[in-house]
Subunit: 657 residues, 2 copies
């Protein structure tokens, strides 16, 4: 395989790259972060890079050979004259010679702020996997009819009361060697008091589990010390299935229309999770041939489509009536059967699903938030690429799902970006002057107090906040339309002739161009919030209630959202602002709880059956509700005393617990 030297600037990272690889692949292999929001789908145009030199050596100067593959149609669409010369899309340009490449600030991904960061959970420690120290007498000719296997079992029964344990076959294969290496002192890892899934020489204390949340767009893994319950490390990544479809339905379609579609997507997510595993264990184990084998348990939550695709079940039947899932029960699957590179003898615990559209992720939310242990009527909104809703109390809980699209995650937004340094996340707009002030991630002060702001884009919670502020400042009306002829240069027509609001001028940014909120951005947000609102309203009707006592916002950015903005926009039915809580990644919390306490696994199975699934997409009333819910209500109409409330509670919600 021919290789070429590639240098990335300004980081200076360099290395040899196989011919034909894209610049994005080259960057990833060399540890250079380039924004690829669309997941290599060649549609977002956010991975622009500038080719500085196409050669290193004098000899090559006059050869006239291009060191890159020809410009593609995708690139022609995205690269504008104003981008300047030498610009290419990193996802599309292939390496065919030595190169020096400059990654503009705008295209740099930066280290993503993990919005799915783990909060502390208060739960009794009773993990499915436990370690036991075993000390044996070296065998002699007096007990030569007792095998190694039987000696270990006898000790575990005599000293720990563990009866009728099985050995996993792979553990058994190594047992003799490990016993002798440990000089008859070993540590035995037991799963569910039933099966020995590891034997290590000597006495080992540390025992690790991984709680995994596979979202349609983002995957995250929480490495947990099962002896303390603490999260030791968190790693996340974009779901590698994104290139095969941005949402659930398009991935199901991909599986239906491509002969190897299911297999391809399954391999992609397994490979992705193995990368998370490899990265997450770097915190605890840096050497050895299989560092991932330090993980002895894994719990996983996901929506039903991600569940089916990851487990290799054909998702076609959940994509069409009567929407029957392959399985709803929780599953325990050997890690090696599914190709996850943790301890191959360990089990993956898959949380149960509720129905075709309400998955194990929602069960995770359910056992984390426990609406069934409340008197108050509680609405739990899990905001991801899909919105999933739980409504109820101890008496009854209903669930449903509604398609919000990825706008809340910053996708489909012109200057949308992941929650990374430079992303605008807090915004206020002066109703008189229409001048904004904003904060970017990584800096605590308002932008007006900063010398160098280096804004780069707007993250999901920033989008919600800026649109709410635009409405309150009269820049858009309740239908979401721009009000023109406002005496401000910030409201103008964009290059596409449609109105836009300039949130940050080019000189305040690190990307050299104005950061704007467009009419299209506002529409995308209205569609998303309308779907949520309509879903909640219909559930209330079904339950025959008119009031909600408490709203819990869960999801990737649920912990960063402004309560005021979400109420202003009408993301959910009215609720007293004091009773709106953000809980962060509750689905992930559920996975973590199931990892730490096996009683939670039983609770999950029982409650998943107990919750009543309500189908709202086919409800004739849905469209009407949805059309109404697209409008933006003004919260002042509903909360006359909002200012006092905010003064008392602060406008930003903190993570509870």
């Amino acid at each position: 395989m021919k290789k070429h030297k590639v240098i990335f600037q300004p980081s200076g990272r360099r290395g040899e790259v196989e011919e034909g690889k894209t610049l994005l692949e080259a960057a990833q292999s060399l540890g250079v972060d380039i924004e690829a929001l669309c997941g290599n789908k060649k549609v977002c145009g956010k991975c622009k890079v500038r080719i500085e030199e196409g050669y290193f050596e004098k000899d090559n100067i006059d050869s006239g050979m291009s060191h890159l593959s020809p410009l593609t149609e995708d690139e022609k669409k995205h690269i504008k004259p104003e981008d300047g010369p030498g610009m290419r899309l990193a996802c599309s340009a292939g390496v065919y010679g030595d190169l020096k490449v400059f990654v503009p600030e705008r295209s740099r991904a930066g280290k993503q702020v993990v919005r799915k960061a783990a909060k502390e959970l208060i739960i009794a420690l009773d993990p499915a996997v436990k370690k036991y120290n075993v000390v044996l007498q070296p065998p002699s000719l007096h007990d030569m009819t007792t095998g190694d296997y039987e000696r270990v079992l006898k000790f575990l029964e005599d000293d720990y009361g563990l009866k009728e344990l099985k050995f996993d076959y792979l553990v058994l294969k190594d047992l003799q060697t490990v016993l002798r290496k440990g000089e008859w002192r070993v540590t035995v890892t037991v799963w569910m008091d039933r099966e020995i899934i590891k034997v290590e020489p000597g006495f080992e204390e540390a025992c690790y589990g991984l709680a995994v949340d596979v979202g349609t767009t983002t995957c995250v893994g929480y490495l947990t010390d099962l002896s303390t319950g603490k999260v030791v490390n968190t790693e996340s990544m974009m779901n590698p299935q994104v290139p095969y479809g941005e949402d659930v339905m398009s991935r199901i379609t991909y599986a239906m229309t491509n002969p190897d579609g299911l297999d391809t997507m399954q391999k992609a997510i397994i490979t992705g999770l193995n990368e998370i595993i490899e990265r997450v264990v770097s915190e605890i184990k840096k050497d050895g041939p299989h560092p991932g084998h330090a993980i002895d348990d894994l719990t996983i939550v996901f929506n039903t489509a991600m569940h089916h695709i990851l487990l290799g079940f054909d998702p076609v039947y959940i994509g069409r009536s009567p929407f029957i899932p392959a399985v709803q029960n929780s599953l325990n699957i050997k890690a090696r059967d599914i190709g996850l590179k943790i301890n191959p003898s360990a089990y993956i615990h898959v949380l149960p699903i509720e129905a075709g559209f309400v998955g194990a992720d929602n069960v995770g939310v359910l056992i984390a938030e426990e609406p069934y242990n409340q008197n108050e009527m509680m609405l739990v909104i899990d905001i991801g690429t899909n919105g999933e809703l739980l409504l109820g109390n101890w008496n009854k809980v209903c669930s449903t799902s509604c398609a919000t699209g990825p706008a809340f995650e910053g996708a489909q937004i012109k200057f949308g970006m992941r929650a990374a340094p430079g992303a605008i996340e807090v915004v206020q707009i002066d109703p008189d002057t229409k001048e904004p002030r904003y904060k970017v991630i990584g800096k605590t002060d308002w932008h007006s107090h900063l010398e160098k702001i280096n804004a780069k884009g707007i993250c999901g919670s920033g989008i919600i906040e800026v649109v709410a502020e635009m409405f309150k400042a009269g820049i858009i009306d309740k239908s979401g339309k721009f009000v023109m002829d406002l005496q401000t240069p910030r409201v103008r027509k964009g290059s596409d002739g449609k109105p836009e609001y300039v949130l940050a001028w080019a000189e305040e940014t690190s990307i050299g161009t104005d950061i704007t909120v467009t009419q299209g951005d506002v529409r995308a947000l209205q569609l998303a919030k309308g779907a949520l609102y309509a879903g909640a309203k219909l559930m209330m009707k079904r339950l025959g209630i008119t009031e909600i006592d408490r709203v819990v916002l869960a999801g990737a950015f649920g912990s960063h959202i402004s309560r005021e903005a979400s109420l202003t926009l009408g993301m959910f039915p009215d609720c007293h602002i004091d009773k709106v809580y953000a809980v962060g990644n509750a689905a992930g919390d559920g996975a973590r709880m199931a990892l730490l306490n096996r009683g939670k696994r039983i609770e999950a199975s029982e409650r998943a059956r107990w919750v009543e699934f309500i189908e709202i997409a086919t409800d004739p009333a849905f469209e009407k509700e949805f059309m109404q819910a697209m409008h933006i209500p003004h919260m002042k109409d509903r909360f006359p005393n909002l200012k006092e409330l905010l003064a008392k509670s602060g406008s930003r919600v903190e993570i509870k617990g």
Copy 2:
């Protein structure tokens, strides 16, 4: 890959063979049987073939290029001038051009008479694996919250009382498709009332299991219809580990001295068993990508070394003091974990072992012969490459193992061969004239009544018979030495200067040379029988008994052995000839019983622990017993009324049961 045309005569089979393959591989791939007693170890010299033509086309005649690899040192050792021109060892000569090859009769393996043929067993049918018909209502929008998995489980519980079943992950992956292909009528295969290991569309009746007996030298598989208990097909082959060592200890040594030794031997036996699986299912299933998947259960017996190597446990610890096995309990291992190509979701049931030297094969004999259900003091001799002994009754049963070597199987005997057509198996020698008469396998008459005899060699039971007859006729004395100066041309000095007895003249054979019994053959047999006899004697001493009520001969050729000859030679301590039974492959019977009745699996586990293992090899008395036991006693001294007894019972033993 370059290929060449090869024709084998006289069968006329022909085909294309990859360059570099040996003639033996070529023959095997074209279905031509060539004797390869040493298992391709290049030591037996029995695979001689004559190259008839090294070319097919005129153009090649004058090229002078050889169509074969050069003569090897092994070949030079084995090929004698009297073999005539063009002779090569098929195991050593590589194909490098078109060839016509003649396989002399002597080198033809013929279809082996499976000495491990299955006898009928009388046992209640209660297999571990059972099939159930399931009929579901097609799902509708009214029950969309119930998954396919849960529907199947509910039916099995409601209609068959099967509770808390698990699905194997691989079965679950295909469940949705199979249910729809079968239009909601499927057949579910359940293992041990615990786990679903197969779902097939429509209603399937047939359910198959395979009982496997892996001997040091021979492997055999009995394909069994689990709904009738009948053996449908039997396939056997030489253990493909033979090239790595002819006996147990040399294979353990191979594993110790070669870094990949264990892995190599494990792969060899797994590959061999997969070949047996492929051949054995040809009787029931000829098409489809995985015909072996028709097998849903597999039981296996073997000695402890074969057990460890096949399961990938390091055999080194059972080869040295204190001889501790990795595991003694029975094991259930997923077929896919071990690479056996039956239903990958099925389990392999490994019968328990007794001790380092008494393996699962002996447990098979134990549960087949049930000495623990007898009042009589019973000696069970399982004769294979090792001899394993059980002695006892309801009160107590002891076991031991003694190294007999492979002489009983026809190996290490000059004209020894497997039990195939042409093998001499019955012999009588006139004490006055020293003239023999004999029968060959495949023909019912004595040789003297046949026009064309075509004797080819002597099989294991034939060797025992001829040596016993030689003793009775005064050709050898009680120490095993040849008596010379007998007025017969049949006793002569061989080409090595040592005495030999001509059993068949060249013209009676199909191999064109006299078939003789040499001094070395007699010695090999004496060593083997001496080990057995001494072992049994020492066990009797330990048990404090002086008489045995009943002798059961088990093993590959146990069903063909002459009771008179075995008593004449003194293969085991005295017992009334009416009380000597041959039971055939009792180890295989045990495997078959465990396949047909799961109660037998529990019995095996309990009895394997209950039997007392006695170590005799290290007993100081062993050597003395062994030296004495090498001598040949004359049975007339012990059974004065033998002739009447024989007249009453017939001299050949029939398979009981």
